[in-house]
Symmetry: C2
Subunit: 143 residues, 2 copies
Amino acid sequence: MTQSHKGHDHVWADDLTRNQELVLGTLAHAHGPLSAYDILDRLRDDGLRAPLQIYRALDKLTERGLAHRLESLNAFVCCADAHCHQSGCIAFAICERCGKVEEFAEPAIESELKGWSKASGFVPSRMTVELRGLCAGCASQPA
Amino acid sequence: MTQSHKGHDHVWADDLTRNQELVLGTLAHAHGPLSAYDILDRLRDDGLRAPLQIYRALDKLTERGLAHRLESLNAFVCCADAHCHQSGCIAFAICERCGKVEEFAEPAIESELKGWSKASGFVPSRMTVELRGLCAGCASQPA
DNA sequence: CCCGATATGTTATTTAGTTACATCCGCGCG
DNA sequence: CGCGCGGATGTAACTAAATAACATATCGGG
Ligand SMILES: [Zn+2]
Ligand SMILES: [Zn+2]
Ligand SMILES: [Zn+2]
Ligand SMILES: [Zn+2]
């Protein structure tokens, strides 16, 4: 029985390894961002035991843009938009009450940052834009 | 002898506590960003021993805008521009070769982000913008 | 002087990420 | 087939980053 790793309802890429698929599946089914150790806890039953196994998978996934790291949270999310890597600069809005994360690409922001870089001689390789605050739902909540 | 804490060449604010002044002084004299533990190591001779002492001082300093936290680095820098807190959104360009950090405020970026927030109902409380790459000096270096 | 607020000091613990090293598995090649 | 190589895995030990819990000290106002 060839039995590659089944059991998932969605396929993101056909060449993910077992661990990568497990990690990405966990992120995809989560309601919000997860730390590497959160992910590990959820994958103990699948045989994963060491942080490094998670970090290795996350490295590959973030390299390929299938997952993103939230720097201000030390946590990771599944990419919400399969085409986000076409835009070099992805921004995140993180709700501090419910934990929801919205991923969005504002080309204007990217060009602003590129403009500053050009003017100052800085050569950017990676851009991090993260907003903290309250999502629309939580902001309109009573208390 | 009243002897508040002297020995510094510059005064940032007159009401800093001893630990806050030590930490800010360390950041100010550093050539690049420092982690909390880096700071601790440099303040052992001044009697500081526990991470918490550093983190407490850093909390106050960042609250007041005298220091900034670089989320993508888990490190801190002294504020380069005493008036930066007038702008809600401060951006950083971090050189991955020499470690130099440039702090800049692009009002256009802030208004872009505010625009997105307004349109989507998100209520931001804090914004993080960090560029990684090569500073002008390092980018023009041979290898 | 007493009290509350703020700052400090100390120890232990939790959370995050890395280093080092052994093993395993698929694949091309002689 | 047998070998060698690169990528993925597994495991243990460790460093780094941040916090929890608790005890003291310091200062200013009533
Ligand atoms: Zn994405
Ligand atoms: Zn929310
Ligand atoms: Zn500043
Ligand atoms: Zn540089």
